[in-house]
Subunit: 184 residues, 2 copies
């Protein structure tokens, strides 16, 4: 069978682009106490080799501390127009503007709108209102700016529209993707 | 200050009801190996005392095994019309058609459409396609049908529309909710 989740995801992105929120997904992590944590983030594209999903994140956010303890995540991405869901599980790496991955980090910064950049200069997210300092604005990415990359290891793709519904689970085994049709 | 997350959530439900997906949210749990798991579920309402959020789930699904090991979840609920997010963390209980909670479980079943009920008679979700048996259809809830209830302990409410954005974190302490405004 020729099913490949990456083609299906590119397809979903294309078919849902008329929906203003089609690039929003939910990223789950595990916090230091073993509780699940879940928040909406914006998909910023794929890495140059098409292997990893990219998100911009704030070094001062709770998820960065959580990822230092357990660098694992699961994306839940529901497309409302095509009525399909991708659950994408994988290891997560963070890249700042220095060290390995800094070129990809700067490249993401350069691709972002001024509005999207602004929040990285705001006072620390989650801290009591206005008790922390804002960061001086500049065209360069501040130290708060990080590129988050998730490298998929398992993808669960559910399509609600066909009758019967379709569900494919793909797993990365020794560098090769294997897909299996399962019950929805 | 008079902010109360439950009022804000009821408000969001009302203001977003024109959106066909406003009752869908993402529920994160932690699996047996410590990985985060994340999936879209349908909000089925509040418990009679308004204290818990209800979801219907399949006893044969992976999340039920995960919850037996770690009965904790975080809901991420993004409302696209009003551009606000509720992150709702809490302990989770499951109720079947026998034992404590069975009345609430049956009441949820009775409130559900025939289309929503159908999937509980399908072969086991996640199992290889068609290798398991379907359950004989009936008007009574099958053993696969469970009521999942999440009792909130912490709620993080982010509003993207106002300028500046607003974020309130509420925590349940000794039976009383305390809210604090934090940086978005």
């Amino acid at each position: 069978m020729d099913y490949y989740w990456r083609d299906a995801l590119h397809d979903a992105l294309r078919r849902n682009r008329g929906d203003a929120h089609h690039r929003y997904f939910q990223l789950a992590t595990v916090d230091e106490a073993g509780w699940p944590a879940n928040r909406t983030v914006v998909f910023r594209g794929f890495s140059d080799d098409d292997q990893r999903l990219q998100v911009a994140t704030d070094a001062r956010s709770a998820k960065v501390a959580q990822l230092a303890a357990a660098s694992r995540g699961e994306i839940c991405w529901y497309f409302t127009r095509s009525r399909e869901q991708f659950r994408i599980r994988g290891s997560i790496e963070l890249h700042g503007t220095a060290g390995p991955g800094s070129a990809a980090c700067s490249s993401l910064w350069n691709s972002m709108s001024e509005a999207a950049r602004t929040q990285f200069f705001w006072p620390a997210p989650g801290a009591p209102l206005a008790e922390t300092e804002a960061i001086a604005e500049s065209n360069l990415p501040p130290s708060s700016f990080l590129l988050l990359e998730l490298a998929p290891e398992r993808v669960d793709h559910l399509q609600l529209r066909p009758d019967p519904q379709r569900r494919q689970v793909s797993a990365l085994q020794q560098g090769t993707w294997h897909a299996q049709a399962v019950n929805p």
